[in-house]
Amino acid sequence: MHDANKIIPGIVLFLLVISFPIWYNVASGQDAAPPILEKPVNATKCVEDVEYMRVSHMQLLDSWRNEVVRNGNRIYVSNTDGTHHEMSLTKTCLGCHESREKFCTRCHDYMAVQPYCWECHVDPTEIQ
């Protein structure tokens, strides 16, 4: 190989630079710990079970908004325990989850997603 003395150190340097975030985190001892979420104080269960909500709450909320706005249906019947809930982000979700900041936002920040629900929907604790 011509110029091996330049190419090989070049490749090594390149690999070091692109893997910088990995070994920097390892070296600094900060592992990417999952966020600590504050669970509701006054409620023990959600409209569906935790596993489903963790994975699919966005699809659930999407179907809620279509049901309420487009079909005029406002009551959701839980598939887990058959209980009835009003399909409302502000009233039902935030009715139990006292702090949006310490629940929704913490996890969304960790996952680097930016849903825009709250640009219109109102968090009652945020109104002056």
Partner: protein
């Protein structure tokens, strides 16, 4: 084949006769079909309520400075008040008589009507032009006649604003939260870049309540009800009083009726 003049006329006559009866049959079939589709339309309309509003101008005190209806609406639906008239958001507001009913222009109209401030809102047309032009179906007509909006789906193209002959639609040029003094948490605000308008308080109607403006009117000048129920208050008012609608010549069939 021997084909004389007499035979030709016989065949020609027969063919014409068959042709005429055939087309008559087709006509009557069409007729049955249109009666059927009318029946279907009536059934669909009769299956549920058709919401409408009667505005009794003899009772309305808008020109004496009453703002009860618009204030109740603004508060219920988190409608911002902005100082820039070009950025104004309006669900129910007032227009002078001449501009509300341009086809009724009359220099010698009664003093009680001349220059009177008339409450105006979305007409929830039976044939809504805004719905026809919306490219995303963010606005559509529900089975109960309410012309509804899905703010999730509005892309802010403003075709509906151009299409509406009543100026009933407003565009959020700025974030409405910046100019809201207080927020009612039960109803979402809107965001910059979407169109909004009166929804006939469908969230209240769903609970069997009256729209906010109707409940707020101190004079009972606004009456909300079901056009499909012959005994409803709106039907009784329309039966016993002369009513006019805004720009009826456009064929939009408004469902806001004014008693003058």
């Amino acid at each position: 084949m021997d084909y004389d003049r007499r035979r030709f006329i016989q065949i020609a006559g027969l063919t014409t006769a068959v042709g005429i009866t055939g087309s008559q049959n087709a006509d009557s079939a069409n007729e049955t079909e249109s009666t059927e589709s009318h029946a279907v339309a009536q059934k669909a309309a009769g299956g549920g309520p058709q919401w409408a509003m009667v505005v009794n101008l003899k009772k309305c005190r808008k020109d004496k400075g009453c703002k009860a209806c618009s204030m109740a609406c603004n508060q219920t639906h988190n409608i911002p008040s902005t100082e820039n008239p070009r950025h104004e958001i309006k669900w129910i507001w007032t227009e002078p008589y001449e501009e509300t009913f341009p086809s009724q222009e009359n220099h010698f109209a009664p003093d009680s009507l001349q220059h009177k401030q008339i409450p105006v809102l979305c007409n929830h047309c039976e044939n809504p032009p805004c719905v026809r032009v919306c490219p995303t179906k963010a606005t559509w007509k529900r089975e109960d006649g309410i012309v509804m909006m899905d703010w999730h789906r509005c892309i802010g193209c403003r075709y509906c604003i151009a299409a509406c002959p009543y100026g009933s639609r407003s565009f959020n040029w700025e974030d409405p939260r910046n100019s809201l003094k207080s927020i009612t948490p039960d109803f979402p605000t809107r965001t910059k870049g979407v169109v909004e308008k009166c929804t006939f308080c469908e969230e209240k109607v769903a609970k069997g309540e009256k729209p906010a403006c109707v409940s707020a009117c101190p004079e009972g000048a606004l009456v909300f009800g079901n056009l499909n129920d012959p005994n409803s208050e709106v039907r009784q008012l329309l039966r016993n009083n002369f009513s006019i609608r805004r720009k009826p010549g456009l064929g939009t069939q408004p469902k806001i009726y004014y008693l003058v």
